[in-house]
């Protein structure tokens, strides 16, 4: 039961947030807080927190160069190397990091073990990679699409991205492919966490909460677009007011919009304190972002401290007689 407790608590937290947002929608002074004060506060917490975390990681030195090598290293000239999986220089590292960040290279390696016929069998298991990638890319597209609320006139490439995203023109207003992909990816990640016993076993409150929060944001977004249309002009006005630092609490935008906002601001404030910081952390991972050229180029440890060693003199002093008896040369007779 303990295992379901984290899930239950996460669902409760989301419900409380929802109720809170609905309460806010009904109370004018609270909508003022949500639309005029909190946006700046949440954004400030997000930005400052993000920077703080990166600086904190960055300020810890990298004493040793410890890349995990996943391909043939650079050695003799006639041996074919794998410059990306085992980078020997700057461009290799860039390539490796790009593959990792944009295509989740390591996750693509994933296998699943089962004991079949008395031996472990390593089956292909690309689902996590596929849905993970789907989720992250569609999230990026959706965030970028939202820039249309914050920029006037809308720059052409954002408009083009939105048009491409809605290419199939299903329904009115057009259903965005990225919305479908995001929801599919999220559902997979969430269900996997709840259903697979091992994953449920390792899951913490934060794991469920992060997913549910984003699911909440996407659901309210979809509701506003397709079922309870929000007054887009009012939303745009509000967003532009934020950008120009002259926010005015809006009138008559649907309650769903307030729930949406409430979730988004929670996510922003929660982000730097949570595991979601993997978004920044991945750039700093020393097993991935260093070249495997240790023997070619010395890596310097800024805190390299002297240690107590056993010198040759001490060694010979202890064993001199035995060394001489064995006919081994000695420094001091």
């Amino acid at each position: 039961m303990k295992l379901m407790k984290n899930l239950g608590l996460s669902i409760s937290a989301i419900l409380i947030l929802t109720l809170l947002a609905m309460g806010i929608a009904m109370n004018h002074s609270m909508t003022y807080l949500l639309t005029v004060i909190i946006p700046y506060a949440a954004f400030a917490v997000f930005l400052a927190g993000f920077v703080y975390r990166i600086v904190k990681w960055g300020s810890a030195p990298v004493p040793f160069r410890i890349p995990t090598t996943c391909g043939q290293g650079k050695s003799l000239p006639w041996i074919k190397t794998n410059p990306v999986e085992n980078p020997s220089g700057f461009w290799g590292v860039i390539g490796r990091m790009a593959l990792e960040i944009f295509l989740f290279r390591s996750l693509f390696r994933n296998t699943q073990v089962e004991i079949i016929g008395g031996r472990p069998v390593y089956g292909s298991a690309k689902w996590l990679w596929l849905f993970g990638l789907m989720f992250h890319w569609s999230l990026l597209i959706i965030v970028v699409r939202h820039l249309r609320f914050f920029i006037e006139p809308i720059v052409p490439w954002i408009a083009a991205l939105s048009a491409a995203d809605g290419f199939f023109e299903i329904g009115i207003p057009t259903l965005y492919l990225s919305d479908i992909a995001l929801l599919t990816g999220l559902s997979f990640l969430f269900l996997r966490r709840v259903i697979v016993p091992q994953i449920r076993y390792i899951s913490l409150f934060t794991d469920y909460f992060s997913l549910l929060l984003i699911i909440g944001i996407v659901s309210t977004g979809l509701l506003m677009r397709h079922f309870f249309p929000a007054d887009l002009n009012a939303v745009k006005t509000l967003a532009m007011d934020w950008v120009t630092f002259s926010p005015v609490a809006p009138q008559g935008i649907s309650a769903v919009f307030y729930i949406h906002l409430c979730f988004v601001f929670t996510l922003m404030a929660w982000f730097p304190a949570s595991k979601l910081m993997h978004a920044g952390g991945i750039f700093l991972s020393p097993t991935r972002n260093l070249a495997s050229n240790n023997r070619r180029q010395r890596h310097v440890n800024p805190w390299n401290a002297p240690v107590k060693v056993h010198t040759y003199e001490e060694y010979e002093d202890e064993f001199r007689d035995k060394m001489k008896a064995a006919g081994l040369p000695v420094e001091k007779e």
Partner: protein, 533 residues
Amino acid sequence: MSFDKIPKPDQLIQIQYAPPKTGWMETPVEFRPGTWSYSGTAKSLTALDLPNPRSWQPSDDDWKLPENWQAIILSGMKERLGKYRSFRLFMDVCVRCGACADKCHFYIGSGDPKNMPVLRAELLRSVYRRYFTKSGKLFGRLAGARDLTMDVLKEWFYYFYQCTECRRCSAFCPFGIDQAEITMMGRELLNLVGCNINWVTEPAANCFRTGNHLGIQPGGIKDILDFFADDIEERTGVRVDVPINKKGADILFVTPSGDYFADPGTYTCMGYMMLFHEIGLNYTFSTYASEGGNFGLFSSHEMIKRLNAKIYAEAKRLGVKWILGGECGHMWRVLNQYMDTMNGPADFLEEPVSPITGTRFENAKSTKMVHIVEFTADLIRNNKLKLDPSRNDAQRVTFHDSCNPARAMGLFEEPRYIINHVCNHFYEMAEDTIREKTLCCGGGAGLGNDENIEMRMRGGMPRAMAVKQVREKHGVNRLACICAIDRATLPPLMDYWVPGVTVSGVHELLANALVMKGEKERTTDLRGDPIGG
């Protein structure tokens, strides 16, 4: 090696992957015989000036810790969070996606969820959150945080000495989180209050004093190497030199002491000596730096440096040009990723150039230390060796990539190149079990001791089963490797899971095939077994 006290293979393979009903924070560790290693003795700890030397065992209720042990560990943790970006980052960025879970050989072989790398790391992360993050301080359990209690410490001991630092999980992690790095930190912290295992501390203490893990004194080393020379003469009719502590040698040769000490490593050592004789290499062994391996890697970064310092110091004293290193896994993790940083720069040495082929080893130009399989592959490539692979025809060979040369160097092709030139029958194991995805022998990182036998057989099971597959398919009877720990731990693993497969270093196979000047007709291989089977 006796397997009497552990379940039979067909029972051991019945692995239950369903996690227990109780949450992991509520499931205390049970020190079951066969699954843990004896404590470090007071004598070894004293020899190394390590804290809290005493007589105790992990199965005892009272671990005889200093009164303020929590404070010691927490301040040690704080210090390391400030000194290692890896540690700080790996404490924070895990999303618990679980991709690493079934990549660990100990998890595959035991089904114990705390052997999933993610959970092994959470054992430490939960304490990190409790004392070093705001959310952990405020929300406790809800934020995945817990107090550092005696139960937690026991859990650390059990599971950080149930990780061989093989880095397989790290290859699969989307953020490159390296459990080896976390285990190393966990072990450093345990060491601060005197909780270590004897199979690590005793070799380290030996190495500090005598120059090698096995505690062999200078005369002993000379006797052993002379004995190898006798054996070589008996098999080949060629008398090889045994240069030891020789000033004026071009090259210092450093190999793990396991190669001097026990079969089948000894045959690999004979292989090196025959090769060096045949090409007329002006080299020397050293008794002071008679250990390539470094059990410091399994206790603390400081200990790595203390033990490793001998190699450069000896190279300087003997006035060699550069250093050549034998076949060993964790030894090369240290030589490749730590030595130059810790004890360099080796500006008193020359950039390594093969005196036989003239090849410049550009990849080792700063460290000045070349891996023997690079050196030998270059010799073969330049036709400097006369080889008769048919002498290994009795062997149907497969190759086990040792964890560290694989995932800390990327040394994949060189050993295969040699094997392909010295054997006629070479078969690769399944793709998911070799190269960067290679599986551990189950006894690395100091866990290859007798009392830990059940866990070794469990952890080595995935490797053994991959061997079993090629044995059934191709009749493989020889498992080649480039690691001294492998040569010690794989033979019992094979006896248990895949009887009939023997283990050898690559240079043993090379020496069998090596046609030496002035040799007599060879009727046996180095082991005295008839050639051709």
